[in-house]
């Protein structure tokens, strides 16, 4: 995640002042921790999206549960009821079982967005595009996993996708 705010300690009050890097919002708090929290809650967020690290547990050849690091590099645990084995396989480039339908385009997008921790609802392709301000091309590139170096900027639930040339 790209830090999109700055914190400065005021020498004259001892308080911490936070300001979004784009200058859109500012505030102050008694502690650095609180200032950071306020900044995170108020400033637009920019991400550089890369495939996350994961760690999966298989029992008798079936996926049981797995952890995936989100954009803050915090491991998040999932079970196959959260994200199916097919979706998991798709995301990490593994081959689907022959008797599986693999996964739909919408499910692929949901999986990726969930892993990144920026899923904003929707179950169908149009809903996902609307909820995440995605163009047809954005959607296509995401489900094709053509997203290395992609930047996403989120401000007040408005998503801006910038793909590398």
């Amino acid at each position: 995640m790209i830090k999109d705010y700055t914190l400065s300690k005021s020498d004259t009050t001892g308080w911490w002042v936070w300001t979004c890097s784009d200058g859109s919002k500012t505030g102050s708090a008694t502690t650095k921790k609180q200032a950071k929290k306020d900044a995170k809650a108020n400033c637009p967020v920019a991400f550089v999206l890369d495939p996350p690290d994961f760690n999966a547990v298989y029992t008798d050849g079936s996926l049981m549960d797995f952890t995936v690091k989100n954009l803050d590099l915090v491991p998040v645990q999932y079970t196959t009821s959260d994200i199916s084995e097919d979706e998991f396989d798709f995301f990490f480039g593994l081959v689907c079982d022959e008797d599986s339908d693999c996964t739909t385009r919408a499910q692929k997008a949901i999986t990726i967005l969930k892993f990144w921790g920026i899923y904003n609802g929707g179950t169908t392709e149009p809903e996902i595009k609307t909820n995440h301000d995605m163009s047809d091309t954005d959607f296509q590139r995401i489900i094709e996993k053509d997203y290395i170096g992609l930047h996403i900027h989120i401000d007040d639930d408005v998503y801006t996708w910038t793909f590398p040339e």
Binding site: T12, T13, S28
Partner: protein, 214 residues
């Protein structure tokens, strides 16, 4: 035995003398501490941010605390900017501020510092008297010429300054005393440490606070 007692006394004296100065200040005398430098644009913006956060952008508290832009612009050659981003003058003294605004700032600062340091002794910030300025002048002795900005004819306050030294009493801007209309200290036009007088905000006029520990 006498040696033991004197050692103990020295230790006690050391700890009594090493009371942590209130934020932004250096020791002046007794229970008095004075700001190391004039209140800067950053610190004034911090004040505005708090007012905006507390009372809203359309409140009189916020609007009435914005410096006089014409005065500010006269010195810095650009409009006063409420923003902390890409602001080249954050560490220069705030000007365009009235006596009442400066007093309000000191009162507000007391509130914030006492809130943050609840377990410490209570601190009251206020404007200094002429006598306190005169005492402070005797303590000012540091050469900080590397922070001099020839275009502005002003010194920039070094960030995160450490040490028990005072800055800019005899230059930069003259500073308001506790008496309305009376200012002390040299400025970019007039380096003399004589009393100066004003009726309204001036581009050569700023302020710093005294912290009085109760």
């Amino acid at each position: 035995m006498i040696n033991l007692i004197s050692t103990w006394l020295i230790v006690v004296m050391f700890f009594l003398g090493s009371v942590k100065p209130p934020p932004g200040t250096v020791f002046l005398s007794d229970n008095l501490y004075i700001d190391q430098a004039e209140i800067s644009n950053f610190e004034w913006i911090e004040y505005l941010i708090w007012l905006k956060q507390e009372f809203g952008e359309n409140s009189n508290d916020f609007k009435n605390s914005i410096p006089d832009n014409e005065i500010w612009k006269n010195l810095y050659k650009t409009d006063f900017s409420f923003s902390l981003v890409n602001n080249n003058y954050l560490n220069y003294p705030v000007v365009g501020v009235s006596y009442d605004q400066a007093n309000n700032y000191c009162t507000w600062r007391s509130k914030l510092v006492n809130e943050k340091f609840k377990n410490d002794k209570k601190v009251n910030y206020r404007l200094p008297t002429k006598n306190e300025f005169e005492k402070a002048i005797k303590l000012e002795q540091l050469n900080i010429s590397k922070y001099y900005n020839e275009n502005l004819n002003l010194f920039k306050s070094p960030e995160k300054t450490k040490g028990n030294f005072l800055l800019f009493l005899s230059n930069n801007v003259s500073e308001m005393t506790i008496v309305k209309g009376e200012a002390f200290g040299g400025n970019f036009n007039d380096k003399s440490n004589s009393l100066k007088f004003y009726k309204s905000p001036e581009k050569w006029l700023g302020f710093r606070c005294i912290a009085e520990i109760e």
